[in-house]
Symmetry: C2
Subunit: 511 residues, 2 copies
């Protein structure tokens, strides 16, 4: 923490940080459960206090800050851990008969209010469903490089089970350790690949979804041209249309060839231009993270006088030197420079990347400690066309700086990197830091976020590239999606979940 | 024709072909139009005989055979050529008030009964809509390599308008000359790229769709993670949910580097294995058509003792020699051989490819002539996992041979090639030839198709990779898609087209 505190001092001009103590179970006054569990479901359900506390929140700033305030005003009444599909259907029946809302919890890493119990009068209680017992790789088709996997499995367990076959999903998002395959699918998560296999969507062969109206099981094909793709209805459905039970997913072989280097740019616009050309080159780098100098400096990858492009290639089949060489040629044309050997070859140096990766992996562990010290470290991601990017970045940075100053009375930090790149535009990822009033973090955070998010959307970006919508992004999503498409989604809800039990308030309000 | 007739003689054991004469407008007795055009729509609509004849059918075997029988039993009553979106909405209103069905015609190249007027009692007439006036590229964003294009434009016109910007959609399907962007989108067509950019889906940034309930206009992003993707509802909607007015599409720069060669394999299973390894290599060949020896012989690309893999790479950015070299290394390991220079480099020979491409491009011109001679040349395409392919091929070939013999009393030909390959499976494309009774082609064709298609589906293939569903594929589609997903689609229909005007009978029956 000392290292981070020194960095925050520099960033925010705060001399000394004092941390609120983390809450303990016994300090919290918890509302009694409004639900009594029938004996038929007693093996599957619990009202135990810690579980109810744990499942009250996701992993967003507001969630953590409320927990630090010992504020668990609206906890779920019951936590269910179904062991099999029949348990899930029994839960649907029971909740349907009693008007209990059902919150599919995934791994609980939502940063957008996706798993928080709703507060609509029509529900007489809330049952949060944790699918952690659905944690097995059921079938591996090595020749077709794919596997049938239960949706409750978390990242590390999934990879451990695939390892004996020499296969991997290679879907390493920041929450990888804590989030589930089903959660990735429901929220259209994006992994670490900068190109080609960015979204979980690209890995899905077919889904099996449980709904109060029955099972939706798509057939398994590499691809099909038969009508609208049924799985696409559930990719991004955020738990509102069903609970994903299992999926056939596409896998990769483990990479045998890698090349990684860090390119420095003195001029940011040239760095963007190089990255754009790369994105349209067909070279498909696995990593192409352009990181602004301020952000690179914070993570120790730049002295603040240059921006860096963390560039990587990997392949399970063939050497990637030619691709790296061509990518560096493109960078050089735009003024990029990199460490090279006497022969002019790039040093296969992972330093910038390593430094960045360490911060990346540590990120989820840091949030609680930062917020306890009044430090809001928030990220907002989007995607925009190359043509629209420069204006978007400028507008978002200006507006977010303004918001931080207005809300906290102090300066903050706002920086941008690319997490993913597409031939038609980048996915810019903004990180902002602000020093808030420890007793009012949720309110201050939302006040800043409202302005920052609005700026991003006003400048032509989507409300989310991969953090999903939850309840926090609804105001912008409501304007982003075509109104008639929402009517269609509501129709799907009526067909699949006529009692409107599932995750009410994401995508749209219950009627 | 003489060349083809000689080939058919060899293939089908028929000595001499006699052709039915093509029909002429004046020979056809056409039912009077049941619709009188109101003066407000007289600029947009016609009941002219030729137009009604022309728009009665798509381009399938049954369509052509019925036309050859002078059978135009169920023509559309009116053909509409809207000039702008208001015209389309006026048509919706008019048809809604009068219970006329609306058939979006695209380019009319459906081979699956996708544009044939339906015969449900609830409709008092049929208006076929031809969007040919929606033929302009409206906007090109060069830096983001994308363009906003009206959906009625046909392939050649589209490319001609993009050419000045140095950009191209490079979506060269067999019907390219005759089919429209909107048709490709509505039917999830596939282009000539064997990997990476196979379906039109991969090229869509955002759609603008006109429905009787209003406009559905998605926002334009390189990608978004905000809820289920609205455009995916219309990709494959086959005209049943709306008429696509325009789309923002992703473009490519024109290729500067190419390499193309033909690899011969003595053993088919080894050729499949090589192609599978290629599909999982990340090399992304633009062409990887594995053609069985019988089919390669028919097209003049093999002497019948070896199968061929037409292999191609292209890039607008960098030489592709390294990729070709690695691909050939893979082929060599599986026993592949190719023409090479003294130095062992592959001869950049286009011969096999050229021969194949010529046949490919001539294809659409040939159908009428073949059918007039009693020659049914039919194609069925699917996609299946690598693990399932061998059994599928065997089953489809055996069953289709059996069907041809049972139905026509003669031997036929059934061959297989791959049109597209994916890391998890190929898209096999079956071509069958049978010599039928010229007066009963539609009935014989459907009898053979029923058995052949059933075999494909029974063996684990999808009912269609890129020919779409139309009305002909409904029996199999009804079993392929999840039942509850159909309920959702029907709900979408109610929301967007409450009068059930649009293309009734595709996807599902009107209620």
């Amino acid at each position: 923490m000392a290292e981070f505190e020194r960095a925050w001092t520099k960033l925010l001009g705060v001399e000394k940080f004092e941390a609120l103590p983390f809450p303990r179970k016994q300090e919290i006054e918890l509302r009694a459960s409004r639900i009594s569990i029938p004996s038929a479901l007693s093996d599957v359900c619990t009202t135990e206090k810690y579980e109810r506390l744990y499942h009250t929140y996701g992993a967003g700033t507001v969630d953590v800050a409320r927990a630090l305030r010992r504020e668990f005003r609206n906890p779920p009444d019951v936590i269910a851990f179904p062991r099999n599909e029949q348990d899930v259907f029994d839960l649907f029946d029971w909740c349907g008969r009693n008007s209990y809302a059902i919150i599919p919890y995934g791994g609980g890493t939502s940063v957008v209010g996706g798993v928080n119990p709703p507060e609509y009068d029509r529900y007489r209680g809330v049952v949060t469903v944790n699918m952690k017992h659905f944690n097995r790789v059921l079938e591996v088709d090595e020749i077709s490089q794919s596997a049938r996997i239960q949706a409750g499995v978390l990242g590390p367990d999934l990879e451990a089970q695939l390892k004996p076959a020499g296969l991997t999903l290679r879907f390493f998002l920041q929450a990888w350790e804590f989030s589930s395959l089903g959660g990735w699918i429901a929220t259209r998560a994006a992994g670490h690949f900068a190109t080609a296999y960015t979204q979980i969507d690209d890995h899905i062969q077919s889904l099996r979804v449980l709904t109060p109206a029955g099972v939706v099981q798509a057939k398994r094909f590499p691809i099909s041209g038969a009508g609208p793709n049924p799985d696409r209805l559930f990719l991004g459905s955020e738990g509102a249309l069903g609970i994903i039970s299992e999926a056939w997913v596409r896998l990769h072989r483990r990479p045998q060839f890698r090349s990684m280097t860090t390119v420095r740019f003195k001029d940011y616009d040239s760095a963007v231009e190089a990255t754009r050309v790369l994105s349209q080159s067909g070279l498909n780098p696995s990593n192409a993270r352009l990181i602004e100098r301020e952000e690179a400096q914070y993570t120790g990858s730049s002295d603040g006088t240059y921006d860096i492009l963390v560039l990587g290639f990997e392949s399970a089949d063939h050497p990637v030197d030619h691709r790296m060489a061509r990518a560096l040629e493109i960078c050089k044309q735009m003024g990029g420079a990199w460490e090279s050997t006497g022969a002019g070859e790039p040093v296969d140096s992972d330093r910038g990347a390593k430094s960045w990766r360490e911060k990346f992996v540590r990120g989820p562990y840091l949030r609680e400690y930062a917020i306890a010290r009044g430090v809001m470290r928030e990220t907002m991601e989007t995607a925009v066309t190359w043509g629209g990017f420069a204006a978007l970045r400028e507008h978002v940075k200006r507006e977010t700086h303004r918001a931080i100053r207005e809300v906290t009375g102090r300066r903050g930090s706002v920086t941008c990197r690319f997490t993913h790149i597409y031939p038609d535009g980048p996915a810019p990822y903004f990180t902002w830091f602000a020093y808030g009033d420890k007793s009012r973090i949720p309110e201050q955070y939302m006040a800043i976020k409202r302005i920052a998010e609005q700026a991003m959307v006003d400048a032509g970006g989507t409300v989310t590239h991969h953090h999903a919508l939850g309840r926090d992004h609804r105001p912008w999503y409501d304007k982003e999606r075509p109104e008639l498409f929402c009517t269609v989604l509501k129709g799907a809800k009526v067909a699949l979940d006529p009692g409107q039990l599932l995750n009410p308030g994401v995508l749209f309000d219950p009627s």
